[in-house]
Symmetry: C2
């Protein structure tokens, strides 16, 4: 369940140079190829590594505007709202949260003007009472996991 130091080094190495193969990784880490192979299999069946999907930049796709919307949901409408939001491509992720907002979702749009269209699309649904939106201006820390991996692999 936890990961050891070698797992940590392997993940960091894969994150830094994703295209390297098992053989090259084993050379870098100074272990046998079979070991790397076994570790990677284990990390994947563990669920620690979910996959190696391509990381796509929404901005490069023509969606440079990111926003977070807090949604207030009418009692008992949760499932419907979830289903609705799942059909909107601009909704990149959706969480149900504690506190007065009931859901938090990440949106992208082609422009600030386009964001209005997206929000209308999101909010134009019966179960949603109110939405409050915060537009992202800067992203000083892009989604990252390496520091956490290093931390987790240290406190064995």
């Amino acid at each position: 369940m936890a990961i050891d130091h070698l797992d940590g080094r392997l993940i960091v190495l894969l994150a830094r140079e994703p295209r390297i193969g098992v053989l090259e990784a084993s050379r870098r880490l100074g272990v046998a190829r079979g070991t790397v192979q076994a570790r990677m299999d284990r990390l994947q069946s563990n669920g620690v590594i979910r996959g190696f999907g391509p990381e796509v930049d929404p901005a490069a796709l023509g969606y440079p505007v990111t926003a977070f919307a807090t949604l207030e949901i009418k009692q008992g409408q949760g499932a419907d709202v979830r289903a609705h939001l799942a059909t909107v491509a601009e909704v990149l992720e959706l969480h149900t949260i504690t506190g007065h907002g009931d859901m938090l979702c990440r949106l992208v749009a082609r422009s600030n003007a386009d964001l209005q269209r997206v929000i209308d699309r999101v909010v134009g649904f019966d179960g949603i009472v109110r939405a409050s939106t915060a537009i992202v201006m800067e992203n000083p820390v892009p989604l990252r996991i390496i520091p956490l991996v290093e931390q987790a692999s240290q406190d064995v």
Copy 2:
């Protein structure tokens, strides 16, 4: 800059089966190997595909609790706060946003109790005036990009 239909199919294919090579991908897409190679090179130098880093699940690392914190920053302290938060491994991402909260960050923790420690660590910094935290309960739509890719590749 934009993405055509073939690019879209390629990205979707890569997302679905990340381990397939260029050759297998060309077979699936019904195009020549060189074409796939060229497309992938272009997508990567375009910045559309940032990379193929391993997707690590924080929960499997022992951090099953996720939260979003909205931070209010003292005027002029933005840069310091950014630098401070960048040193905290449990801060997975950080955005500066419009509205009354000034920053929004995603946190993970080992438990609800541990979240308190993380928040103290985050907030225990001079430039931060106030923090309001929302704990994630469910994640009905995990971070996704495929629907957007399909949309972007359709409106040629």
